[in-house]
């Protein structure tokens, strides 16, 4: 068992709200294109799209705070090591020297100049994804609130923050959508070892062989501390597997379509 139910539930919230936000937000960014209008019409018109966008925004804040609560709970109650040892150790998301070494080592391995680095519980690209969400939710979320409640925020901020907010909101969203739908999809799911889908985030379960191969340091530590048995669980049920695929492939589909739309619009803008 790699991810408990709570983590999987939060990731499901992320998927739903993120897809909802991209689907309803991108048409506005590329409002001058025909597909934007078509997509908005399918979503029930631009007004409905705006409503969905705000609902998904609220879900985003919800999972963000649910995670913060969990993180605090973890640090205060579940943490088993001293604070600083944990903070810079393998069970924390904080990037540290080993991650930098892993980046270099990984690239050397890509180029055939070395062994594959031995990864631990969280790899550097996973940590990047994690903090990208923090950064993204922070920037996009706050600028989104500005744009949602301009009168309120203008009580103590000058009006030009809304000019700033729309640039940040729009370009950060492009970064987030572009990153998730290409880099995250590849790194986590589409690369040959995982193809077509790594369903660990949906089932929560990883096989012992995979853990051994993918995260040898974590495996070794678990064995040494005799904890491996405590996290051993049943294989995922067939229903869980099927649902993982349905959700995963739906997300691929939406992502792929949106990426095509974005690339098409971006190319059109250059012309």
């Amino acid at each position: 068992m790699r991810f408990i139910y709570y983590h999987r539930f939060l990731h499901a919230l992320i998927i739903t709200s993120f897809l909802g936000l991209v689907l309803t937000g991108m048409p506005l960014k590329y409002s001058e294109t025909g597909w934007a209008q078509t997509l908005a019409n399918y979503l029930g018109g631009i007004q409905t799209a705006g409503f969905i966008h705000r609902v998904c925004g609220v879900i985003t804040f919800l999972y963000f705070f649910l995670h913060i609560f969990y993180a605090l709970y973890y640090v205060i109650r579940l943490r088993e090591e001293p604070f600083f040892k944990w903070l810079f150790g393998p069970n924390s998301m904080v990037p540290w020297i080993k991650d930098l070494e892993d980046v270099v080592g990984h690239i050397r391995w890509f180029l055939g100049k070395g062994e594959r680095p031995k990864f631990d519980r969280f790899t550097y690209w996973e940590k990047f994804d994690y903090f990208a969400v923090f950064w993204g939710v922070g920037i996009i979320g706050i600028s989104g609130l500005f744009l949602w409640f301009p009168v309120f925020f203008s009580k103590f901020l000058p009006g030009w923050v809304f000019n700033v907010a729309i640039i940040l909101h729009s370009d950060e969203a492009l970064l987030a959508a572009g990153f998730i739908f290409t880099i995250h999809f590849f790194n986590t799911h589409l690369r040959p070892e995982k193809f077509p889908l790594d369903d660990v985030i949906f089932t929560g379960r990883i096989t012992e062989e995979e853990l051994m191969h993918e995260r040898p340091l974590e495996y070794k530590r678990l064995v040494e501390k005799g904890k491996l048995e405590s996290i051993r669980t049943t294989p995922p049920t067939k229903t869980l597997r099927i649902w993982s695929r349905i959700i995963g492939f739906t997300a691929y589909g939406v992502g792929l379509i949106m990426i095509l739309f974005i690339v098409y619009s971006a190319l059109r803008e250059i012309h």
Binding site: K29, F110, N163, L168, D171, I183
Partner: protein, 396 residues
Amino acid sequence: MRQILFIPLIFLLIASPAAALTTSDCFDCHSDEDLTKTVAGTEMSLYVDENVFNQSIHGDMDCTDCHEDLMDAEDEHEESLEAVQCGNCHDDFMEAMEQGVHSPDVARVKTDLPTCASCHGKHDILPADNVRSSIYDLKVPNTCCQCHGSEDVASRHPGIEFDVCSEYEAGMHGIVLIKSGVIFSAVCNDCHGSHDILSAQDPSSRVSHNNVNNTCGTCHAGIVETYNSSIHGKLFREGTGEAPTCPSCHGNHRVDRAMDDEFLVSVTDRCSGCHPEEADTFRDTYHGQVTGMGYAQAAQCPNCHGAHDILPREDPSSKIHPANLVETCRACHPGAGTNFTMYMPHADYHDASRYPYLYYLYLAMVILLSGVFTFFGIHTLLWFLRAQKEEKSKRA
């Protein structure tokens, strides 16, 4: 007894060669519904409904008052008659006709040229205020559209707009007249005139650049008054020809209702003809994006600048004069204050000289995005190639 018979005979002998055909003589033959003649192979009815004629505006006149060439005719007459000369009595209208686009002098295809009868009818002419008249307000569009809505006629007159009738019907004037049956809605002749219709390019036309505002103002007097005091009105009086007139924004035959969403979301397009840069920068903003996608409630040009009363920023009565901005924003954003008005509704982050901070912020975003995508793009590609190799060697 003999004498009694003789008197009518003498009367006939003396009187008949000199006396003209009376109207009742004419109807002796022409009230026959089957009376026809054949012109170039087609059969033409020569029937005239006596009742209709008697009720027409010319009901008190004699046939020969108009068909003058029959003045001296016996009861049998030539089959082909000369054209009736309405101008003998209605000389002022004839003169007006000769000045206008329907004059025989300018007609390109003579057979398409409207005659008096094309619009007014023949034996059934009724005054314009008679509900059955072909020039009664409710009927005018039908009458004009016999030609101006006909594809057949259109095919012979390249360059003349022939969608005017469908456009008119779709517009507010047409809807009010045809669907709502409101008689004082504008019909063709209210704007174009009737006998002396001139091309819009002709400076003395009612719909020329110089005159069209006043033409609209005959009904929309209050609007024209407001317009006259606006920057557009001032520009119009300067006479450079650049000022927008009513149709520049509202269109001509199809005048849409300004409260309708369809009109509202197209306002930016209407203004962009003269203000392309302002329209472009507006379209990049949230207001521009949502209205561009059909959300009519968000602000467009007139919400901030006004419509008929547009004034430059420097004018104290301008909606965008600094002293009035709070009130202008509050129309949509109740509770907005001075801070709120510091929003830049036309900010262009591509313009480094006017909006340096936004430009550098945008530039920073571009660098961030390119950086992330370049690094991870290469990272991903290399990873893919390596992983492919590994998989192959594993299988081998």
